[in-house]
């Protein structure tokens, strides 16, 4: 084995061999322990969060801030037929579904354009119809976060 740590004296008189074998056993032990520990503590599914603050129309203990007139009020409405992006109460763009899939590319482009026009705004309200799957809500919030719109609030619409 590779256990011999000290250089072996050669048979030919007092001439010492230059060969030296490292003692690898403790190193292998250390690696084995490390691998066992890391395997036991490994987290294979990376779960994270998307942070959302409560919208004022839902009940909360916190007092609602007074409405600001200059607020952009950027809203993304998720309907069963597609997205509607609006700001200051006016519709910016209606994005229809492409087949069965929501057109996220166009939504990203529209949001990018709005962010470029109003770089100071970081708030967005995501509203959704009741029948929309939860994944679509998350996808829209994800797209908003990609465009630095991190002040997300969620609201529902009565359908």
């Amino acid at each position: 084995m590779a256990g011999g740590g000290a250089p072996q004296p050669s048979d030919s008189g007092g001439k010492k061999s230059v060969d030296f074998q490292l003692n690898l056993v403790p190193f292998i032990d250390l690696l084995s322990v490390l691998i066992s520990f890391l395997l036991m503590t490994a987290v294979w599914t990376q779960i994270a969060k998307i942070d959302v603050k409560q919208t004022p129309n839902l009940p909360s203990d916190e007092p609602t801030p007074p409405p600001e007139e200059e607020k952009l009020s950027l809203t993304v409405l998720i309907k069963s037929s597609g997205y509607t992006v609006s700001k200051k109460g006016a519709v910016v763009k209606e994005i229809e579904k492409k087949g069965d899939e929501y057109d996220q590319t166009t939504l990203a482009e529209v949001l990018k354009q709005v962010v470029a026009e109003h770089p100071e705004n970081h708030d967005v309200t995501v509203t959704s119809e009741d029948r929309v799957p939860y994944q679509e809500l998350i996808t829209v919030m994800d797209t908003c976060l990609m465009h630095k719109l991190d002040g997300i609030s969620v609201a529902g619409v009565d359908t």
């Binding site: 084995m1 590779a2 690898l24 190193f27 292998i28 690696l31 084995s32 490390l34 691998i35 890391l38 395997l39 503590t41 490994a42 987290v43 294979w44 599914t45 990376q46 779960i47 994270a48 969060k49 998307i50 942070d51 959302v52 603050k53 409560q54 839902l58 009940p59 909360s60 203990d61 916190e62 998720i78 899939e101 996220q104 590319t105 990203a108 482009e109 990018k112 959704s128 119809e129 009741d130 029948r131 929309v132 799957p133 939860y134 994944q135 809500l137 998350i138 996808t139 919030m141 994800d142 797209t143 976060l145 990609m146 465009h147 969620v154 529902g156």
Partner: protein
């Protein structure tokens, strides 16, 4: 224990010409060196891979079979908070069932009293445990990706009724990188 001299055939055919077995000058020795270098190489690669995947925060959420989490790229790291689980069959808080999803969906009332009561209890416990500190009102929503938004909305309403207004939607992180690998994800995905 005496060391026995091995037989003519080496224990591994690929070591037939190994110096330690043949003894250099044709004289056979009884000691065989194991090739440790590939073993250590493999160990090192394994350690590096595991360290790259290592998460100090551990696993806060255990995913049940009924719940398939939605996927996202722009995410933040999860904190410890009460967990509401919403599956197609049940709604549970910290593993305790508070209602059937279908019944709650059919109910025209937006409130879920059983969930609100349970959350209020948890809020009281939280305030007792952390006196003098402001109540964060954080809650983790662990919801199946195919659930209708109506159910999520009802749960949000019930949670807000109990004073929980900071919602953390649990998602699976997609793409390479860790929990915070969000910003450079590329807008044109999907």
């Amino acid at each position: 224990m005496p060391i026995k001299k091995p037989g003519k055939k080496p224990f591994a055919p690929w070591l037939k010409k190994h110096r330690a077995l043949t003894g250099g000058k044709g004289k056979k020795q009884g000691v065989a060196d194991l090739l440790l270098t590939p073993l250590i190489d493999m160990f090192v690669i394994l350690v590096v891979f595991l360290i790259m995947n290592f998460s100090a925060s551990g696993e806060l959420i255990t995913i049940s079979k009924d719940i398939q989490l939605p996927k996202a790229t722009s995410t933040a790291e999860l904190d410890r908070a009460p967990i509401i689980q919403i599956s197609a069959n049940t709604i549970a808080i910290e593993g305790i069932k508070v209602g059937d999803s279908e019944e709650i969906l059919k109910d025209p009332d937006l409130r879920i009293p059983s969930l609100t009561d349970k959350l209020q209890e948890m809020r009281k416990v939280d305030e007792m445990m952390h006196p003098g500190q402001p109540f964060k009102g954080q809650i983790i929503v662990n919801c199946d990706k195919d659930i209708d938004f109506k159910l999520v909305r009802k749960v949000m309403f019930a949670a807000a009724d109990a004073g929980y207004s900071n919602f953390n939607y649990a998602v699976l992180v997609i793409g390479a990188g860790g929990e915070e690998g969000g910003e450079g994800g590329g807008a044109s995905e999907g």
